[in-house]
Amino acid sequence: MWRVFLCVLGRDLRLAMRRRTDVLTTLFFFVIVISLFPLGVGTEKQILRILGPGVVWVAALLASMLALERLFAADHEDGTLEQMLMTPQPLSLVVLAKVTAHWLLTGLPLVAIAPLVGMQYHLPDIALLTMVLTLLLGTPVLSLIGAIGAALTLGLRGGGILLALLILPLYIPILVYGSRAVTVSVIDFADTGPYFSLLGAFLLLALVLSPLAAAAALRISTE
């Protein structure tokens, strides 16, 4: 089972390395969205500090959304997805491997660069640290939930917009707890515990349920 997981993971990572633009677009999108706000709102420290956590989190939501469409689409077009549906492997395992690869390529870079772009908002170090930690817990959930939407909208014309309408509302809890944790940490880091617990719970729940749901959705949308 590990062998299959690693095989699909390695395959997707290798494919991404041979076509790097896809990974870089997501990252640049994230950086640009975050950098636009200080330019538009002005450099007032107080305002930026209030805006910062929310802006970074919304940008992360949109960036991971942007990358989702391609999660299954490329494999659908060249017939490799059909092959995966026909293998004796549990489809949810294949989905989990694909989502993991997707997160490593589009989620993890965001987490890594977040403190750097977050500095534009005059956030204290502790808030930047909280931001990294919440994103580390939250972005995998975004990829996992997003996979269900990507599977459902596979092969539809204008699927991108539909995907956004379908998935963004589901992202709301992650956005609320994630950005709130950063805001709270500015006052007292000790108060962020419950937010981390909630994000962790979301992650575990999504890790168990979403590969199953996405696998079922894939079977439906490839009919």
């Binding site: 299959v4 095989c7 290798r14 017939g79 490799t80 059909e82 092959q83 026909m86 293998t87 004796p88």
Partner: protein
């Protein structure tokens, strides 16, 4: 053994076939014919479980394939219209991924041997986007050499292949059938067998749902010399 009982498939409002029943014993080649749009691909995709039939059952060794799920997939190799290879991966990478997913042996040597047998020596380490249509098809068909599956479902496997590759593929199919395998394929080509039997299925002309004729069923069983 594959049993099909009273199968009915529709695409939208259109009835493609209904009341289709046949049994296939090991060592049989089923040649599905019919003009464009008569439902050949739909039948093949239904048989491998990618589509849900509107009525009827498909049994593999006496068990419903829906219930067998992944166990049925272990026994099946489906080759569709799309090659199912990634253009950014090399031929050997492609083959190794699909072998691992299919649960087949995937030693480096086996993979190179399979590619060699498909006449792809020297092209193993090129990204498949550099290959011609026919060569891509050969890469995809190399899966047949690694596969342990007794049931092959091949949708138009001969298109884009040159004469030499057509010969190889015909030999492969004949060998598979001779080894008590089952092959279902759509093609406009004859496939000579060395042993085993060929059966033909002619899907009727597409009709609208109201005047839908039942499919013709399998006729014309012929044993080959």
């Amino acid at each position: 053994m594959l049993e099909v009982v009273d199968l009915e498939c529709r695409r939208g409002d259109r009835l493609l076939f209904s009341g289709l029943s046949f049994n296939l014993e090991p060592g049989t080649l089923l040649h599905v014919r019919g003009r464009n749009g008569s439902g050949k691909t739909t039948l093949l995709r239904t048989l491998c479980g990618l589509l849900t039939p509107d009525a009827g059952d498909i049994l593999w060794n006496g068990e419903n394939v829906r219930r067998l799920g992944e166990d049925f997939h272990r026994d099946t190799l489906y080759f569709g219209h799309l090659n199912g290879i990634k253009s950014d991966l090399t031929a050997s990478e492609n083959l190794s991924v699909s072998a691992i997913l299919d649960g087949d042996r995937a030693e480096e040597a086996d993979i190179l041997a399979a590619l060699d047998q498909m006449g792809l020596t020297g092209f193993e380490d090129l990204p498949t986007k550099m290959l011609s249509q026919g060569q891509k098809k050969r890469v995809a068909l190399a899966r047949l050499l690694l596969s342990q599956a007794p049931l092959w479902i091949l949708d138009e496997p001969f298109t884009a292949l040159d004469l030499d590759a057509v010969d190889r593929l015909q030999m492969l199919i004949a060998q598979h059938v001779a080894e008590d395998g089952l092959t279902i394929l759509t093609t406009h080509q004859e496939v000579p067998l060395t042993s085993g039997q060929i059966r033909r299925l002619h899907l009727g002309a597409p009709q609208d749902a109201t005047s839908g004729q039942p499919g013709d069923g399998v006729g014309d069983t012929e044993a080959s010399a």
